[in-house]
Amino acid sequence: MDNNSFNNDIHLKLEELLTYSQGNLSNKEMHRLELHLIHCDLCNDALDGVAMVREPVLLKNISSIKEQTSTKSSINIAISGRQWLALAASIVLIAAVSAIFYFLPATDDTILAENSSKEIDLPVAVDDPPQEIKINEDSLNLIALREDSLLALAVTPARQNTTNQVAASEVIEEKAKGLSVADLSSEIAELDTILDTSLLVVTPVQALDVEDLKTEEDKAMVSRSKKAAVPAAGVESAELTEVVTLDIDKEEASNYLAPVPEKGRKVYNRYLKRSLKYPAAATENNIEGEVVLVLTINTFGSITNIDIVQSLGFGCDEEAMRLVRDGPKWIAASLDNAAIADKVMVSVPFNL
């Protein structure tokens, strides 16, 4: 009796399964495996299964499973990566705000001098305060918006605000001409606090303007995906519902071509609809909606990475990934006639 005969912890390796099944082993080696097989149902059943398909098929399926389970864990990393971005962005925001606070005292006097006439006029123009309040609210909203989604495109609203502001102050000044200076100066003291806060709020609007443009470039990934979602929602882009290019920035550049499916988008969308195997779990639970994926297309037009942007669960994510993976090839994106690796967003609709 040899001790190894009771060593039941070592299950058959893939190569052992295959060689045993094909009978390519010496009697001694076969005996060694059989010592395990005699009591291991797992390996016994596995052997029966291995005998049912050809070796390359088996290997292909197993590596496909491994790939899918490893992408699952990389999705986790991708999400935590996004959280990182959000964290970094809020740090940048806090830094920007504190920088404004820091530099404010230095410019305070000059701004005061410049704005004094305007600010003094404010209380006098009784009809107009709503406008001033509006500006403050708008800029506050902007800050809130930015914190929420990193997407506060302050450019246009900020411009409006400043033109509003100028227009308002002009009107105010005209009205103020009729009043005595003494009346006004008495009210300056009371307004000191208000003045301080309004200054604070007005300046960030302009500061944010620049700040946003900068962070927009830095956080291109985040804002891009959000931006891309916007045209998807639009009615006019009916044909684009499933395939939306991510890089609008690049598209604006002169010679940029987005990645496209080899046979065109219409064919690709038809493929998605026809080849979809509705997951049983989703059917049972009446799950409908869409799974949004971001594919990385390398310079050869193959998919090198799939990230799930919008998940549906119940096996739909896996099905969407399978469809895309097994689906038609892509034509790589190009910039100035040279192929480049790029990302593209694909949404797979699930309708019962």
Partner: protein
Amino acid sequence: MRIFKGISVKTTDRELVNKYRHTSDPDYVAELYNRYVHLIFSVSLKYLKVKEDAEDISLKIFEVMQEKLTTQDIENIGGWLHTVTKNQCLMHLRLVSNTQKKEDEYANFMEIGTNTHHSSEIDIESNLSKLEECIKSLVNEQKKCIELFYKQEKCYKEVVNLTGYELKKVKSFLQNGKRNLAICMAE
């Protein structure tokens, strides 16, 4: 990443299970799954006979492992995985086929995972003289097969050639003989 977590080829299955139970870190399950994925897939293939379905079930098993291993302390991973995989396959077959017939065919396969034979084997090892007596008490065919397989270390094929029994018979003689031995030893 993996080095930081102390995952290597030498890490035993038990250690992986324990670490996962304490940390809930999916990397440990992923490693464990990778060690068994070929077996899980092959077993699924045996029962489902369709490779796409077998692949789906294999992926499902990964989820089951992630879920169950946090709460259950499983000693015999191989046995447990076999039971889980088989049951998942049978559940899938039930779901797919509405015909009662197939269900009946497989219903008696459903079982609860056991790892009884492991403890009994340790007993066998510790008491060799008693074992000799027990072997003598076996039915003739079982005795023959057991002696050829364990004592002379012949493989199934050789046992078949030497005894003239069919392969299926040899396997069943060996398995039954082994079980009888365990019972005999426990007495």
